[in-house]
């Protein structure tokens, strides 16, 4: 006889096949000290296979968090303004009417790029400003890779300038399909087109005025008291 002990309720030889107080019965098996059977053994019919490998692909929930129903809407608080990145394809919105603005390019000490200010029409005629204002066409664009919107101000004051002329051509082409704008020395910009179509862009949910407001946020000159004007006049 093995020296096993039948758990919390040790069983003697006399206990075999004797009913317990709760009505269950004890039986002996060849190798165990004792087995306690319940009064009734519920029978459960298996509903389906328990083998996870039977159809493992069906158990794969994926992990594409971008399509799982959690929607977070991003609200833009600002938009970049400038020429397109030469490495990225972009599209431009085809405008029914061009939006022409006058801007003031305020030099930034230590930076090659000036800060561009929108100047309110009421100030355009001021002789002290007229000489520094620049006429630009504002083109609304988005990049292909990131869908990031930006505003492209193209100078239109100097039609003989190769940079301006080619930029306008590229902006026009960008209204029809994705293009890339790459510097080409004295020729101005060159245009690069994808060999295969890149599909339609995802445009941001912004009105034209919202677009411009975000692009010129904090950079609107609507008074002669604006610090940029005061600086221009030597007041600061």
């Amino acid at each position: 006889m093995a020296k096993s002990v039948a758990g919390g309720a040790p069983l003697g030889a006399d206990d075999a096949r004797q009913p317990l107080e709760d009505g269950r019965q004890v039986v002996e098996t060849p190798s165990s000290g004792g087995v306690v059977l319940p009064q009734e053994t519920p029978v459960v019919e298996p509903a389906a296979s328990l083998n996870p490998f039977a159809d493992l692909a069906a158990l794969n929930l994926g992990a594409n968090y971008t399509t799982d129903g959690v929607k977070v809407k991003r609200k833009l608080l600002a938009l970049p303004m400038g020429s397109p990145d030469k490495k990225q394809f972009f599209r431009a919105i085809r405008e029914e009417t061009d939006f022409i603005a006058r801007v003031y390019e305020r030099p930034v000490p230590g930076d090659l790029k000036p800060t561009v200010y929108f100047v309110a029409p009421s100030l355009h005629s001021d002789p002290s400003l007229a000489r520094v204002l620049k006429m630009v066409k504002l083109v609304r664009c988005v990049y292909h890779d990131t869908h990031a919107p930006f505003l492209w101000p193209i100078s239109i004051g100097q039609r003989d300038n190769a940079w301006s002329r080619t930029a306008l051509d590229i902006a026009s082409a960008a209204a029809d399909g994705y293009v890339r704008c790459v510097p080409d020395g004295r020729n101005g910009y060159a245009i690069e087109l994808p060999e295969d179509p890149l599909g339609e862009p995802t445009w941001p949910e912004l009105t034209r005025s919202e677009w411009f407001d975000l692009a010129f946020k904090g950079r609107v000159i609507d008074s002669f008291e604006h610090e940029a004007i005061r600086e221009l006049r030597g007041a600061l």
């Binding site: 758990g7 298996p46 328990l50 992990a63 959690v70």
Partner: protein, 605 residues
């Protein structure tokens, strides 16, 4: 209706056993209870060894239940019983529904009972001690078996509570998938990693004597130790400047951080510090060397700690596991005579995972090229299209830091510190990454959104991490980084478990899981076939996790009679061997093993 209703029978099982460090378990007794029939089985060792199968059904209609089931499966192995068709580990399921939380009594059986308001099991320590030394009297035998039955009955009561979070049959199947890993773990713990015992004893027995010699040798290279052997921080700073190594500094921005985690991170991008790092690990106690858990057969066996990390990765002891301590010590690993080792690892596993999960075609395309980091640099315009690893070493190194850093949300500031470049330059690299892999970024941001909104993130096979609200700013920041990192790590863990499970089911000789790799051992003649099959299973596991996307597998063979070599540790190992010399061919070397304390009988109870 609970998905558990579809199971004809559950059988909760528990063994009591003794398992001294590195040994296979010595089984004392088994307790089991069939849930629906109420049958119970209490058997002592001398009965168990006579049985060719368990005294209960282990067929396809029955699920075997346990708490930290790999321990039970190790006893199955030891008794040479066939493995159950279905396994469900209550530890794993309990952990899964609360992963991320910190529980007052942890995730062990007692912690689980406490969480569900069940009475705790008393006198655990006492009966654990009895199991280790072996019962000596009839009363002790009865007491131990009663105690064993208590654990079983605890599992019977816990099953519906722990598994209440499984709502569908598919949820149950995924739990059974997790449960099957216990059997693979038991396989690996049973085999153990082969250790060159004469070498191990010889070298570890002399470490105390050779510290000064090693220090003097490496000081010629680093110049950071004073004549009295103390570490000079001023000299170390000078060395860092000379080598142009960006080393993380303390909060005052003055003193290099000297903790192990910082050093482990730094040597990844400043490999010239490897030897100094390994010297510190070996002789300054930042890692415990010479405490591997080795059995009398010269095999290293440890509890592999399945699902021990929040990501679901294994967490074996870093001092007792052969792959835990300083990398040079991996050369103590040597295949048994007539055998070979193959270390198969998934190439750039984490990159492949995020590329596939995010559906980022550009990233997947770059992964398929031989050098992902260089492919990124070229795509981003950071390197010319004909760039090579040799000619564009610096930009490749920078690309690697960026590509790996973004996976756990590292900032441009952190990358700049690692690369020794300006933050502006690091931001430029980061922008380039965002531009070329914008789908990855949209997916990674969505993962963060997902956790923000739902409070939980999960893998494809439903391993979960819960976000815990915390007022601790540093903890919160760390948690968000964990969220970013979770998909790559947790799916890596899924892949490893799946591959190990496939291999165990086919009886392949898996020896150890190592993060993104699996070590196998086979005879010289069998290795080509075994190795090829293991690779096929690892590739299949990657396709199963990533819905068809295949992750490459690379091999590192260790031939019969050779020592395992980790490239990062080779130089230091050779230096050590240059000082101590080869071990004399004398059996006395075998007697110098340090004494081992017995391990606790059950993990985390």
């Amino acid at each position: 209706m609970s998905p558990l209703d579809a199971v004809r029978e559950f059988v909760s099982v528990d063994f009591e056993f003794s398992s001294p460090s590195g040994h296979r378990p010595t089984v004392r007794c088994l307790a089991a209870r069939e849930h629906r029939s109420g049958r119970r089985h209490l058997l002592a060792y001398d009965e168990l060894v006579r049985m060719k199968t368990p005294p209960f059904d282990i067929g396809p209609q029955t699920v075997v239940v346990g708490y930290f089931l790999s321990a039970e499966m190790s006893c199955f192995q030891q008794l040479e019983w066939p493995r159950p068709a279905n396994m469900l580990d209550l530890f794993v399921e309990f952990r899964n529904q609360l992963n991320g939380h910190t529980l007052p009594l942890g995730f062990g059986l007692q912690g689980c009972l406490n969480y569900f308001g069940e009475p705790l099991i008393e006198e655990k320590e006492h009966w654990r001690d009895v199991a280790i030394r072996g019962p000596e009297t009839a009363d002790e035998w009865q007491g131990l078996m009663n105690y064993c039955m208590q654990d079983v009955d605890a599992c019977v009561g816990l099953l519906p509570k722990v598994c209440a979070y499984l709502k569908t049959h598919d949820d149950l199947l995924r739990a059974l998938l997790r449960g099957r890993y216990a059997s693979a773990v038991a396989d690996m713990q049973h085999r153990g990693v082969p250790i060159d015992m004469p070498l191990y004893s010889w070298v570890t027995g002399r470490l105390a004597e050779i510290g000064a010699d090693v220090r003097n040798e490496i000081n010629a290279k680093y110049g950071v130790f004073r004549a009295d052997g103390s570490f000079s921080m001023a000299n170390f700073r000078r060395y860092l400047i000379k080598e142009n190594i960006a080393f993380p500094l303390d909060v005052d921005g003055d003193t290099p951080l000297m903790d192990e985690a910082t050093w482990s991170d730094v040597v990844k991008y400043a490999p010239q510090l490897q030897e100094l790092h390994q010297y510190r690990q070996t002789f300054e106690g930042t890692k415990n060397i010479g405490r591997l858990a080795i059995g009398p057969d010269g095999r290293n066996r440890v509890l592999l700690g399945q699902f021990g990390a929040r990501t679901g990765r294994n967490t074996p002891s870093t001092t007792e596991f052969a792959f835990g301590p300083s990398k040079w010590t991996r050369s103590f690993i040597r295949p048994a005579p007539g055998m070979q080792l193959d270390y198969l690892d998934w190439r750039s596993q984490e990159i492949a995972i995020v590329a596939a999960l995010a559906g980022d075609e550009a990233m997947m395309d770059d992964y398929r090229r031989s050098d992902f980091y260089l492919a990124f640099a070229i795509r981003a315009g950071l390197a010319p299209s004909d760039a090579t690893k040799e000619k564009h070493r610096d930009i490749r190194a920078a690309a690697k830091v960026v590509c790996l850093g973004v996976m756990f949300g590292q900032s441009a500031y952190g990358m700049a510190a690692k690369l020794g470049i300006s933050t502006t330059e690091a931001e430029r690299l980061l922008r380039a990454h965002k531009r070329v892999y914008h789908r990855f970024w949209a997916w990674s941001d969505a993962a963060v959104d997902h956790v923000s909104v739902r409070g939980v993130i999960r893998t494809c096979f439903d391993w979960r991490l819960h976000r815990i609200a915390s007022v601790d700013e540093a903890a919160t920041k760390k948690q968000w980084r964990s969220v970013r990192n979770f998909p790559s790590q947790a799916h890596g863990a899924e892949m490893l478990r799946l591959a190990c499970t496939y291999a165990a089911d086919e009886g392949l000789p898996i020896v150890a899981p190592i993060h993104d790799a699996i070590l196998i051992e086979a005879s010289v003649g069998a290795m080509p076939v075994v190795s090829a099959r293991m690779e096929a299973l690892m590739r299949k596991a990657s396709r199963d996790v990533l819905r068809g996307f295949e992750v490459d597998v690379e091999h590192t063979f260790t031939g019969d009679g050779e020592r395992y070599v980790d490239e990062d540790g080779k130089e230091f190992f050779d230096r050590i061997m240059g000082i101590v010399g080869e071990p004399p061919d004398h059996p006395a070397a075998l007697e110098q093993l340090p004494p081992k304390a017995p391990l606790v009988v059950k993990y985390m109870q």
